[in-house]
């Protein structure tokens, strides 16, 4: 039934947005983490979303499709943030320390966008529930 599929669609979107929120939290938490070796320094992570594709029409029981799935988590390729801190224990020969390539501004806007999308999907799910409930009370 179409109304009940809304729960799957919105639910998958909520799951995907919470993955996005999780990566944002992880990026912000590690924004100042340094490692002895610049190769091991934390790099900003971002999820990649894709649409869930429908099963073929020949399939007798097509899976509820159209939701969102997280295909991959990619690390940012942006250059690391070098800071001149000659007295830092992890400083290189020239006195630079490699800080993660996390852009705090970008992460904050990502966080707002993710939480808005999450709320919107909660709203959609609530509406679908109301509609389904009113169908149940048909004829009373």
């Amino acid at each position: 039934m179409a109304l009940l599929d809304v729960f799957d669609v919105s639910g998958s979107a909520m799951a995907a947005q919470s993955v996005r929120l999780n990566t944002t939290a992880s990026n912000l938490a590690n924004a100042q983490s340094v490692a002895p070796n610049p190769q091991d320094t934390y790099r900003a992570q971002h999820p990649i979303f894709a649409e869930q594709l429908a099963a073929t029409s020949m399939d007798e029981s097509p899976a509820p499709a159209g939701g969102v799935r997280v295909v991959d988590l990619v690390e940012s390729e942006a250059p690391l943030n070098l800071r001149y801190e000659p007295h830092h224990p992890y400083a290189d020969d020239e006195g630079y320390v490699a800080y993660p390539n996390v852009s705090v501004v970008e992460e904050m806007s990502n966080m707002i966008s993710a939480s808005r999308s999450f709320q919107l999907n909660v709203e959609v799910m609530n509406t679908a529930r109301t509609l389904a409930e009113s169908v149940l009370s048909l004829g009373k």
């Binding site: 020949m58 939701g67 999907n121 048909l138």
Partner: protein, 140 residues
């Protein structure tokens, strides 16, 4: 048309309700994929779909238009078609975004709210029909 059937008594409202429910899912899908790169927003052509469903319903008196099958391995037309989902149309974007996504969350939200109201209107009509039938049965 002298047979008594629910199909005749309920008029177009049952079809409209079903179509509204399916449109709810399509719009929920658009909203869920608001952040998916390359996703194209879709919608139901309501007028065309409803008239198509009314034409193909048994109440209209038209003959069964299914394909004739001469072999058990032939696919019947009924199981192969998922009517509404195959007849979706793409929305024309107002402001296409950089990642190829054509979902405009505000538009989708407005359509969703409108669809929600119309669903409830169809439900109200259907409810009235059932109440009328019930009154006729009781002979009050």
């Amino acid at each position: 048309m002298n047979t008594i059937s629910f199909e005749n008594a309920l008029g177009p409202h049952a079809h409209a309700l079903q179509l509204r429910a399916e449109r709810t899912e399509v719009l929920a899908r658009n909203i869920a994929n608001a952040d998916t790169p390359g996703f194209l927003a879709r919608d139901v052509d309501f007028r065309a779909e409803l008239s198509r469903q009314l034409e193909s319903s048994p109440a209209s008196g038209s003959a069964d238009r299914g394909l004739a099958t001469s072999n058990t391995a032939h696919l019947s037309l009924k199981s192969a078609e998922t009517p509404v989902m195959n007849a979706l149309k793409y929305r024309v974007p107002l402001m296409p975004s950089f990642d190829g996504n054509t979902v405009d969350v505000q538009t989708e939200q407005a359509e969703f709210a409108e669809n929600n109201l119309q669903f409830q209107a169809s439900l109200r009509f259907l409810d009235g029909k059932f109440k009328g039938l019930l009154r006729a049965i009781k002979g009050e």
